[in-house]
């Protein structure tokens, strides 16, 4: 795997961490909670090397 791919996957994992943290911290806004989870889907599929 090339260096840039390793950076890319590291950034994906970092973003997943941010989104999960925001999801946990969100207390009131259900739209934001839903959005955090929706945005997570492609990132998780990429890190798992599914799509």
């Amino acid at each position: 795997m090339s260096l840039i791919m390793i950076f890319y996957y590291a950034i994906c994992i970092y973003l997943i961490g941010l989104l999960v943290w925001n999801f946990i911290r969100e207390k009131k806004n259900f739209e934001d909670m839903t959005l955090y989870l929706l945005v997570l889907i492609p990132l998780i599929l990429r890190v798992l090397r599914v799509k």
């Binding site: 840039i4 791919m5 890319y8 999801f23 207390k27 009131k28 259900f30 909670m33 839903t34 989870l37 929706l38 997570l40 889907i41 998780i44 599929l45 990429r46 798992l48 090397r49 599914v50 799509k51």
Partner: protein, 387 residues
């Protein structure tokens, strides 16, 4: 507070359901292997990476089937699934691998030329992930691929793809389109390594003729044709005239543009002694103004919107209620390939390529594509390949 956690739990459960349901389907598609039963003509099977070390262990590595005749003669390389969303070429290549017997010369067949693209899909266009062909022993299942290699295997895309070695500026997506990366280089992006390996096959094995099999939209003028550079045009013209006269289907010759780089029909001819030909058959599934992109549309090529457009003379091929079924498209490819072989053999008798048991257009239209596939359960284990 409790209400928030309940809502979060429900959202999380929905999220996991979507992730598992969607992800598992995509995972199964990427890891599904198509069974190929090597026919009596197959003498050896090697990997494309044997000709370019940079492909070893990557998703772009693919099988190369050698079919050597008892008598020495010319050599023909057949490539299909260059664009893995044009399955008629792939099915024609499988029919050849499973049935052909070479008497003179050698056939080399790479059925999944863009192997990475065959494990990719285009969910944004609603492509089916699989399609099935009816055979006498049940249904044979195939992956439906995409035009370009998967970003899982080659990434990132540049802003603009600078073609090697001509430095022509091409669309960024063409860096993953194996019919824009010819003639390739051994240390370039993955798709350039694929085309470089194919060029090495042609140079090392001294291949005389290369056939790259595709499908094209009915609204695209370069369809139902052979695309050929100057040095292949005589054979291409004779082949199209012969199939029209003898087998009754339309086919014409399109000249390979010298200013558009990266295409097989241009670069193979310019960078080797091989005569290149690119075959196109109409595939309504790829047209934009159609109904849903279903497996049925892929197989029978029937679409009411295209029928309406045909009435307004907007299509470049004849089109009626019978659509453009898979049997016709695969049959055309088999017949045109055989005719190129015959015309080349007439022109160079000392390098003739004589092959038996490849069905022609009328046979495939009559019997169906599935008739020519063999049951893996009844085959010897050493004849079965997963691709």
């Amino acid at each position: 507070m409790a209400r928030t956690w309940i809502a979060k739990a429900i959202l999380l459960a929905l999220f996991l359901a979507v992730l598992v349901q969607g992800g598992s389907r995509l995972f199964r598609h990427r890891h599904f292997d198509i069974t190929v039963v090597a026919g009596p003509g197959v003498t050896k099977v090697v990997h494309l990476s044997d000709y370019c070390q940079g492909l070893k262990g990557t998703m772009a590595d693919t099988l190369v089937f050698f079919m050597e005749g008892k008598e020495a003669g010319g050599k023909m390389l057949i490539m299909s699934n260059t664009h893995a969303n044009e399955p008629e070429g792939f099915l024609a290549a499988l029919i050849i691998i499973e049935n052909a017997v070479v008497e003179k010369g050698t056939l080399l067949v790479i059925p999944q030329f863009n192997h990475s693209a065959s494990r990719n899909t285009r969910p944004g266009d609603g492509y089916p992930l699989f399609y099935e062909i009816a055979t006498e022993w049940g249904k044979k299942k195939f992956r439906m691929g995409n035009r370009d290699a998967s970003p899982l295997d080659q990434w990132p895309d540049p802003d603009v793809y600078i073609h090697y070695p001509d430095r022509q500026l091409l669309s960024f997506i063409d860096v993953r389109n194996v019919n824009r990366t010819w003639p390739g280089r051994p240390n370039g992006p993955l798709m350039e390594r694929v085309t470089f390996a194919a060029m090495e096959i042609m140079r090392q094995e001294k291949v005389d003729v290369a056939v790259d099999i595709h499908g094209a939209e009915t609204m695209f003028p370069v369809t139902n044709c052979i695309v050929a550079p100057e040095k292949s045009q005589k054979i291409a013209t004779l082949a199209t005239l012969t199939v029209k006269a003898r087998e009754g289907f339309d086919n014409h010759v399109e000249p390979s543009p010298s200013g558009f780089r990266g295409l097989s029909h241009r670069e193979i001819g310019d960078y080797s002694a091989t005569l290149p030909f690119l075959l196109e058959a109409p595939i309504p599934f790829l047209d934009q103004p159609t109904g849903p992109k279903t497996e049925k549309l892929l197989l029978d090529g029937k679409d009411p919107f295209l029928l309406s457009l045909a009435g307004k003379k907007k299509l470049f091929v004849p089109y009626d209620e019978s659509g453009w079924p898979l049997e016709k498209r695969v049959g055309q490819h088999c017949s045109v390939t055989l005719e190129i072989m015959r015309q080349y053999s007439k022109k160079s008798p000392e390098k003739a390529i004589i092959v038996q048991d490849i069905p022609r257009y009328a046979d495939i239209v009559k019997n169906g594509v599935g008739h020519y596939f063999h049951d893996p359960k009844g085959a010897e284990k050493n004849k079965i390949y997963l691709n």
